[in-house]
């Protein structure tokens, strides 16, 4: 099937500053793609290029099989939702929703029908006669989504739409956006710096850094098989623990300090048997303790330095064999600072990165 959005060799620079570099991306019809990265990585820039709000320096953009590289934003068949909502303050919600349609000279009946349909989907019917100033943050964002909805666009672009909301509202609206996507099944591209939003919403996540896409894959892939150390550290909280060490010549052992970890069960890239300096990473939630640790292929004795009880689970900072490691434990476990603890993990859950290229091995 033809991709909904296709980006070829896209580049953008402001003077000498390269913001996007030779970027290629395809988004399938109906897919929910999240662009994730820290600020300045180029994710919003990419979205603005897709929307046509920024002129590209090189490359092409196709939406629905049409080359829209030189097209005006309004002609691209997109709807867009902004972080600051960007509602026209002196118009009512209904006015905001219909302004673009009126301008496109759609028949009055059709405008009304579209506005009512969008209002119904978003449950903002009672708010249609109000002005943005009289709305709460969540209602404003719904109205802003409504403005994108009435355009009957095949592609929806979201530019950090939930960043201005408080935590509770953000979680609620996240669910609503997901439901909206299930209901409408149009293509959505969603920019965020929040990894929880990314993991929960996305069919695929594109992790960006320095104007490049580092990894493009399902949330699962990104979480379990990060392509490099940056992605591994970026996803997950607290961050992955890393051991600095060496892979032996047979690719079967990893030595760090005085310790040697067996690597049986770790899936190196097919057909490769790396050796030499490397990082071994293991997520805090993949570490185990107590009896489970005794049974794990890799074990360490350590001492609890710090405990952070979170209710659902407990985070512990453990110093073991000269390493300082985060371990996620069950919420009910009772430990305190200074306790001795046995921790362990299975190499199958680990990630190993080349020391110099930092790519996954």
């Amino acid at each position: 099937m033809e991709p909904s959005i296709s980006i070829k060799n896209l580049a953008l620079s402001f003077g000498a500053l390269e913001v996007l570099k030779d970027l290629n991306l395809e988004v399938a019809q109906g897919e929910f793609l999240v662009l994730l990265g820290s600020s300045g990585c180029g994710k919003s820039t990419l979205l603005n290029c897709i929307a046509g709000l920024l002129d590209v320096t090189d490359g092409q953009i196709f939406i629905g099989g049409r080359n829209v590289t030189w097209q005006e934003p309004s002609k691209r068949g997109i709807g867009m939702v902004f972080q600051s909502y960007a509602l026209y303050p002196q118009m009512t919600v209904a006015g905001n929703l219909s302004f673009g349609l009126k301008n496109a000279r759609l028949p009055k009946a059709e405008i009304e029908e579209r506005v009512n349909r969008a209002a119904k989907i978003l449950q903002i019917e009672p708010l249609l006669k109000r002005k943005p100033a009289a709305l709460s943050g969540g209602q404003r964002q719904r109205a802003a989504i409504g403005r994108a909805l009435v355009r009957d666009a095949n592609v929806f672009l979201f530019d950090e739409p939930l960043s201005n909301l408080d935590a509770k509202l953000r979680a609620d609206l996240r669910v609503e956006i997901k439901q909206l996507h299930q209901k409408l099944s149009n293509t959505m591209i969603y920019v965020t710096h929040d990894q929880i939003e990314a993991m929960t919403l996305a069919d695929r996540i594109a992790i960006m850094r320095g104007g490049l896409i580092l990894q493009l894959g399902s949330p699962n892939e990104i979480y379990n098989k990060p392509v490099n150390k940056y992605v591994a550290e970026f996803i997950g909280s607290p961050s992955m623990n890393f051991f600095d060490g060496q892979i032996d010549d047979s690719s079967s052992k990893f030595s760090t300090g005085a310790q040697v970890f067996p690597l049986e069960g770790y899936g190196f890239k097919e057909g490769t048997s790396p050796k030499g300096p490397a990082w071994l990473g293991i997520r805090p939630e993949h570490m185990v303790n107590g009896a489970e640790a005794e049974a794990a292929p890799i074990r360490m004795q350590g001492k609890v330095e710090l405990v952070e009880p979170l209710g659902s689970d407990t985070l512990a900072r453990v110093s073991a064999e000269g390493h300082s490691l985060w371990v996620r434990l069950d919420g009910q476990v009772s430990i305190s600072d200074g306790d001795a603890i046995t921790i362990g993990f299975d190499p199958a859950r680990a990630n190993i990165f080349d020391k110099t290229t930092e790519n996954r091995l």
Binding site: L53, Y85, Y88
Partner: protein, 297 residues
């Protein structure tokens, strides 16, 4: 926090009170005291010296039956309304032009604003020279072949106030442009993006979205322009001296001339009190809108 050695109330914060003495004196003696004094003496028959011989509203009656004052008011109305309308329109258009992400924005802004740094006297004298019928624009255009061309605002009583208006706009529009530009820059970038995605043409975005959003900027600008207009004095003195005849007289000049040249203080006081009324009519509703709902000041 011992309550026993809590200082005597009037001495608390004493340094701040001492430091505020100039402000308090200015507020009470000058702004309130002198204003009341002038209003008080506007009801007297003071001539060379202020005297407390009351004549009721005589000075005001005489004022409103003096041709020169009526001409002054008429000029103020013409000059004021045109100056207000044109500086808002021109100032906004200039700001919108400069807001188009143009190159050399700073250069253009510097050029448009420099007249504002000049004295009204300088502005008046330059435009007096440029509009000079024998050497200025009129003679230059005639020299180019249009022998019948006539543009002589400084010596034509019917249009002299428009000559002053040209100079006033030249000096003042830069300020309006700057205020408007600051207002435009305060508009959320995302609004422009949303309008582009909605396919709204630029002029419509300005007209229906941006200008309504800039309402506070417009109101502030209008207050600034109008209270400046009421005071217009130096420009007229330098450019036309009120002439030809009394054709370009303005209230501020009327006040000065009656107070300091004709030794008719009562008239001067009455005229200046009328100016105060004019300003109050503008400022009080504005202040009420701006602060009334929340709190004073």
């Amino acid at each position: 926090m011992a309550t026993s050695d809590r200082p005597f109330q009037p001495f608390r914060n004493l340094n701040a009170k001492i430091a505020s003495i100039p402000m308090i004196l200015t507020a009470l003696v000058i702004f309130i005291g002198c204003t009341i004094w002038t209003i008080y003496y506007s009801f007297t028959k003071s001539k060379l010296l202020p005297k407390s011989n009351f004549v009721g509203f005589d000075q005001y009656e005489r004022l409103w039956s003096t041709r020169r004052w009526l001409v002054s008011i008429e000029n103020l109305v013409i000059y004021g309304s045109l100056s207000l309308i044109f500086s808002l329109i021109i100032g906004f258009l200039l700001a919108a032009l400069l807001d188009q992400k143009i190159r050399f924005e700073d250069t253009f802004r510097t050029i448009l604003l420099y007249p504002f740094a000049l004295s009204f006297i300088v502005t008046g004298l330059v435009w007096q020279w440029i509009l000079n019928p024998d050497f200025g624009v009129q003679s230059v255009v005639q020299g180019l072949g249009w022998e019948s061309f006539s543009f002589n605002p400084l010596y034509d009583a019917d249009i002299v106030i428009y000559g002053v208006l040209i100079a006033g706009l030249w000096q003042g529009t830069g300020l309006v442009m700057c205020l408007m530009l600051a207002g435009l820059r305060g508009i959320d970038e995302d609004i422009w993006k949303a309008a582009r995605v909605d396919g709204i043409p630029m002029w419509k975005t300005y007209l229906y979205i941006v200008i309504p959003m800039m309402r506070p900027v417009f109101i502030t600008t209008i207050v600034i322009i109008t209270s400046g207009i009421v005071r217009v004095y130096d420009l007229v003195v330098a450019q036309t001296g009120g002439g030809p005849g009394i054709a370009s007289e303005v209230p501020a000049k009327y006040v000065y001339d009656y107070m300091f040249q004709s030794q008719n203080l009562g008239q001067g006081f009455a005229a200046s009190s009328m100016m105060l009324v004019t300003v109050a009519v503008i400022v009080i509703p504005w202040a009420y809108l701006e602060f009334g709902g929340k709190r004073r000041g």
